[in-house]
Amino acid sequence: MEEPLSAGIEILDKPRPAYSEEARRLKIEGEVVLQVLFAASGEVRVQRLIRGLGHGLDQNAIQAAEHLRFRPAMRGGWPADLVATVQISFHLAY
């Protein structure tokens, strides 16, 4: 049985996801949900799109997720992989 994590990931910096021109024009709002691997090496790997909005927002959400800066989770004193759900929300005031 795998040893439990001694510490979860720590998010150091989050980029601001950008609206796409098309989504802005069509006034698309909502959440894009991604399954993301926060690797022990410090890399972010987007594994799959769980829920999308289209109109360029999915790509922008993936790009934002890939630019997350974090400190990896720890297991037994060593960095460890962690799979998490990342929810990127897009809202407009018009």
Partner: protein, 554 residues
């Protein structure tokens, strides 16, 4: 087929027919249709309050090839609901605030113009445009751009009636809307005359044509001393259906969920004093830009802005500056540019007359320098009430004059910025433009008089960028190949319905003489009229067109 027969009938019968023939009935029905459309047009116009701008230049009749010796300017809004009543925003002294026709009077040696008279030229006859008042005679069919038109001569039946339209009309032959009329009003007198004019309407929505451009040219009688001037003028109308500016704000965020707790140290919702100050300055900038756009003086963001932004990005990149700057187009004719916060505003008239991209870079660099030197916009505009006022006050309340030390500092910084830029080897023409401006400025005081900001010239003295003018080659107005400045109307095309702007797509024309250079001058219009497609057709055409990126290079 039916239409072809009908037109043939017109030609063969030598219209107007004298007897009550079937052809004459058809002709009569056609005229009635034109008249009914014109009546409907006036009804539609009563719902609209477009901006209108008249600019006139005087040329000495004794020296027709010499530059203009004086000019006049009027900016206002038409209220069609009460007839054609102009509401004045700005004008030069020669425009009278009150009064309708005639357009022009001579009082001693002074010329005075009637604002309402110029507005009146948007319609041939606002009250009695019908078969009872006028004779209509078919001339020919003719294309104006893509619109096939019937051309008719129109004359008042009562030869002694004053102020009736006399001239030619062009009527598009699908729905019979008036698209152009060219002539004058009858019974002009020496002391109070009607100008000759050429008035154009454009199709802005299916079945909707609106006045967009009126060209006037005339030779009023000589004043005391026998001095005679020829007048050339343009009236432009726009802002019929400009959408209220409504900039949307965006809020985006990232939330991470996992089985183990996620610690988020990135959250910094609170703003530092520096960020607070920047936000306050941005608020002032946004309030001003939105007020100008709401009034119709500023075009919505569009194609021309993108060209200007590209030039600004070139300047920023070569100066290693990491700044967010946007450019916007002021829709008026007087030559001016100014910076509000991080927004650079350039007037349509100035973009029109600039000969090349390096000259545009020069104008933009002088405003960008104010931004890089942190010459700030008055933060009182961050208070919403400061931009809530009557439209007539707009030019008094929104003034963006800079103190001379700021202008001098920005001018020096702009020269350094240009020396590092991709335009550094092409600045001779930019300097020539400034020399041409200096040479023409004394005869064009109202073109130089900025509506909202500081002037580029004082008399014939350049107020900034003197280094560039000094380094330029000799100005030679007789040299055909030396193009120091373009005529007004050379660059920007305006949709009078939406205020959207695009760059004119004209072919390069070889000039036959130096007179054809017409720097800073008014030229007769030659618009390419098109019919607005229904949304379905427009969508099909859009998929077939691949637009080339716009550029200011010819």
């Amino acid at each position: 087929m039916k239409r072809t027969w009908f037109l043939l009938a017109l030609v063969l019968t030598g219209w107007p027919a004298t007897a009550q023939t079937p052809e004459r009935n058809v002709v009569g029905r056609l005229i009635d249709r034109i008249v009914a459309n014109e009546r409907q047009f006036l009804q539609q116009m009563r719902q609209s309050r477009p901006l209108f701008e008249t600019y006139l230049q005087e040329v000495e009749e004794a020296h027709p090839n010499a530059p203009p010796v004086n000019d006049h300017y009027l900016l206002g809004r038409l209220d069609w609901s009460k007839g054609v009543i102009p509401m004045e925003i700005a004008s030069s002294a020669a425009f009278q605030k009150r009064g309708g026709l005639p357009l022009f009077r001579r009082s001693g040696s002074a010329l005075t113009f009637s604002a309402a008279g110029f507005a009146q030229m948007a319609v041939p006859d606002a009250e009695e445009f019908n078969r009872e008042t006028y004779d209509f005679e078919f001339v020919r069919r003719e294309f104006l751009g893509e619109l096939r038109c019937l051309v008719l001569d129109v004359a008042p039946k009562d030869k002694k009636a004053a102020g009736r339209f006399l001239g030619r009309i062009w009527v598009e032959d699908r729905d019979y809307h008036l698209v152009r009329f060219n002539g004058t009003y009858t019974l002009s007198k020496a002391a109070a005359i009607f100008f000759h004019f050429d008035s154009w309407r454009v199709n802005v929505a299916p079945g909707v044509f609106v006045p967009a451009f009126i060209y006037v040219e005339d030779l009023p009688p000589a004043g005391p001393g026998g001095r005679r001037v020829r007048l050339k003028g343009q009236t432009r109308l726009w802002g019929y259906n400009a959408v209220r500016p409504n900039k949307s704000q965006e809020l985006t965020d990232i939330l991470i969920e996992a089985e183990n707790p996620v610690s988020d140290r990135s959250k910094t919702e609170d703003a530092s004093p520096v960020e607070g100050q920047r936000s306050w300055l941005r608020q002032a900038e946004e309030n001003i830009v939105q007020r100008l756009e709401k009034s119709g003086l500023l075009a919505p963001a569009g194609e021309v802005d993108r060209v200007l932004n590209t030039v600004v990005n070139n300047l920023l990149a070569t100066s290693n500056l990491d700044l967010e700057v946007q450019c916007r187009l002021l829709l008026t004719t007087p030559l001016e540019s100014f910076a509000v916060g991080h927004t650079i505003v350039v007037s349509r008239g100035l973009v029109d007359v600039l000969p090349d991209e390096a000259s545009l870079a020069m104008v933009l660099a002088s405003e960008l320098a104010h931004i890089t030197l942190d010459h700030r916009t008055d933060t009182r505009f961050a208070f919403s009430d400061q931009t809530m006022f009557e439209e007539q006050q707009i030019l008094q309340r929104l003034r963006f004059n800079r103190p001379p030390p700021e202008i001098t500092a920005a001018s020096q910084e702009a020269v350094k910025m240009l020396a590092r830029s991709p335009y550094k080897d092409k600045l001779a023409n930019a300097g020539l433009f400034l020399k041409a401006l200096g040479s023409r400025a004394p005869g064009l005081p109202n073109l130089i008089q900025a509506n909202l900001s500081h002037q580029m010239m004082s008399g014939n003295e350049l107020l900034h960028l003197t280094e560039l003018a000094a380094a330029a080659p000799e100005l030679d107005e007789n040299k055909v190949a030396q193009i120091a400045a373009l005529p007004l109307g050379s660059r920007v095309k305006l949709d009078p319905w939406t205020n959207q702007t695009t760059l004119l797509k004209t072919k390069p024309v070889a000039l036959l003489s130096a007179r054809e250079k017409m720097p800073f001058e008014i030229a007769p219009p030659a618009p390419y009229l098109v019919r607005v497609a229904s949304p379905k057709t427009a969508a099909t055409q859009a998929t077939q067109n691949t637009a080339a990126p716009p550029s200011l290079e010819r």
